[in-house]
Point group: C2
Chain length 340, copies 2
């Protein structure tokens, strides 16, 4: 049979309410009573029931983590285990559990989130992506439920708490790095433009070009949909331009690997013929050929800080919205070269 608070109370000769207070470690209970009750709990193998606790206390001690739908480039992307590690470390430090939602379509995600929130499965939510005009985010905001976004919200970013890198700035820097190496024909290979991160990075890229007086070419932008459909063709169409790029800014190491592979097949060498700089600094990037020059966006920290921020908001509901910027590291390796 299941051991309840009543069983413990009876055996310890106290009221159930006292046992409850011992569990919560209330300062209003004497050490002596606490000791006795704890002994009985131990003896009986008592374990508090989460559901009952949640119902009575109106707190679930769980946070919801919402992954983007799998259409997002590369669900095989190590980004997710890594954020998750950051999230769970912070969550467990605070005795919170993680409730995971991974819809395969936007609607599925939306439904899962609404039922999670309205059904009080969780005390707060972390959105692991930011998409343009996202109805899930809109729902979260209008329902006034504690949530934080990993990424920059498309709208109302002054009213939403979020954790992000400074994507515009770092992409500008990275592009400048290529420009300083003498490159003028720099292409941008991005994820889906539905995501704010893509838009931000694209803007950083454009900014750098503008500052350097390099005109921006539409043909130099390639996005996820095209790559996913036919990565080979995507890069071919880029390299077959009259004025092919001599450098690439790629949004993810995984995409960079694929690009490099196709390029080599086409007889184009990295970095001798084309330079590549990328994002995420996956573990592998150190060992790829050539070793990838990449931006370490500190994925773990992104998750860790987002959780910390959420937990704060849960415990102090009128916490002001804040933006946390996670610094990045430029890891220079061997995929870029001075333009000849």
């Amino acid at each position: 049979m299941i051991v309840t608070i009543k069983d413990v109370a009876k055996k310890a000769n106290v009221a159930p309410s006292t046992v409850s207070r011992v569990i919560a470690n209330s300062p209003r209970i004497s050490e002596k009573t606490k000791k006795k009750v704890r002994e009985v709990m131990e003896e009986l193998g008592y374990h508090p029931n989460f559901q009952a606790r949640s119902l009575a206390a109106k707190s679930t001690q769980a946070i919801g983590v919402i992954m983007p739908n799998s259409a997002y480039y590369a669900f095989q992307n190590p980004f997710f285990p890594e954020v998750l590690r950051g999230i769970s470390t912070s969550a467990h430090d605070n005795k919170y559990g993680i409730y995971l939602s991974t819809g395969s379509t936007e609607d599925e995600i939306y439904n899962e989130v609404t039922s999670m929130v309205l059904g009080r499965r969780v005390d707060g939510v972390i959105l692991l992506y930011s998409r343009i005009n996202d109805k899930t985010m809109n729902f979260l905001q209008s329902s006034n439920f504690p949530f934080v976004v990993v990424g920059r919200p498309d709208e109302h970013d002054e009213r939403i708490s979020y954790v992000d890198n400074d994507n515009i700035f770092i992409t500008k820097q990275v592009t400048n790095y290529l420009i300083d190496l003498g490159h003028q024909n720099i292409a941008f290979v991005g994820g889906s433009t539905d995501f704010v991160v893509t838009v931000d990075r694209l803007n950083g890229y454009k900014l750098a070009l503008k500052d350097a007086g390099i005109s921006f070419k539409k043909e130099y932008m390639v996005f996820e949909d095209f790559i996913k459909e036919n990565g080979r063709k995507a890069i071919e169409s880029l390299m077959n331009l009259n004025d092919p790029p001599t450098a690439l800014v790629t949004q993810d190491d995984l995409i960079a690997y694929e690009m490099i592979s196709h390029l080599e097949d086409m007889g184009i060498r990295v970095p001798q013929d084309i330079s590549i700089v990328s994002f995420n600094n996956l573990m592998l990037s150190e060992h790829s050929k050539p070793p990838l020059t990449s931006i370490d966006i500190c994925i773990y920290q992104l998750g860790f800080e987002a959780t910390k921020c959420l937990l704060e908001k849960i415990s102090i509901p009128d916490t002001l919205p804040k933006r946390i910027t996670i610094p990045t590291k430029f890891i220079e390796r061997k995929s870029c070269e001075q333009k000849k």
Copy 2:
């Protein structure tokens, strides 16, 4: 204010129990009543409270998913997002949620699992790894709680439900493939020997050698701890043997990439000088250089079937333990060559 079953009942002029039955879509309620109640639910924006439901019905509609601790080689490994995708597809199809546990030490995992189970946070558990003499697994089994393992349990495997590849067999096959290419000096580069998967694959490897009359050499085995500490040194010590291997069976594509990188640095070419065959067939492996010959272990299916199996066990408690074997695919690419 929160809308409860009572509010709906009052407005619809029925008893709360009737509303409850409408939610459960009980056949004992007339269509007419159902319709009326549903309209009111819609109108009031009613959403069932999970905690209350769980408490009364003694079912949480959630499964716990236990990840191995991050010490496991490569938490950046795409294995996890991929199993998770399989798990969540199956779970959501059945209206189950996913409760994630990711301890960073064995003890943390153990504590999370016990509190999850004893505290009735979940209806069942999926263990995403199988480790030798694992106290978490032992706890699960002795507490008679529904659970299934992804991987082969170390002990009592006839009494535990699990989903696995036939690791012994496939590793034997893979090793034979290398033997057929003329290789005699074949090394095994594995994960941690704490995990059953490593042991099984090692056994498959040994079996193939034995059948071919090749004597097994201890120096030809390299394991995780050594690699993690110093991957470069690990491979160097292998290649500096009097009789260095001409082929490698590697447990994971990620490790294979690292090995290849070190080998090239040492001036040893893959596949000309050394052949490599590996496991997991990551998305990248198609694009790596050389394209990796790898075993696709069907990670998604592993997760999907494990969940199906668990859900069955939850709904029919006396379901017999079963073993489900997920077939694998041998993806031949260009990392192996005939021995010269």
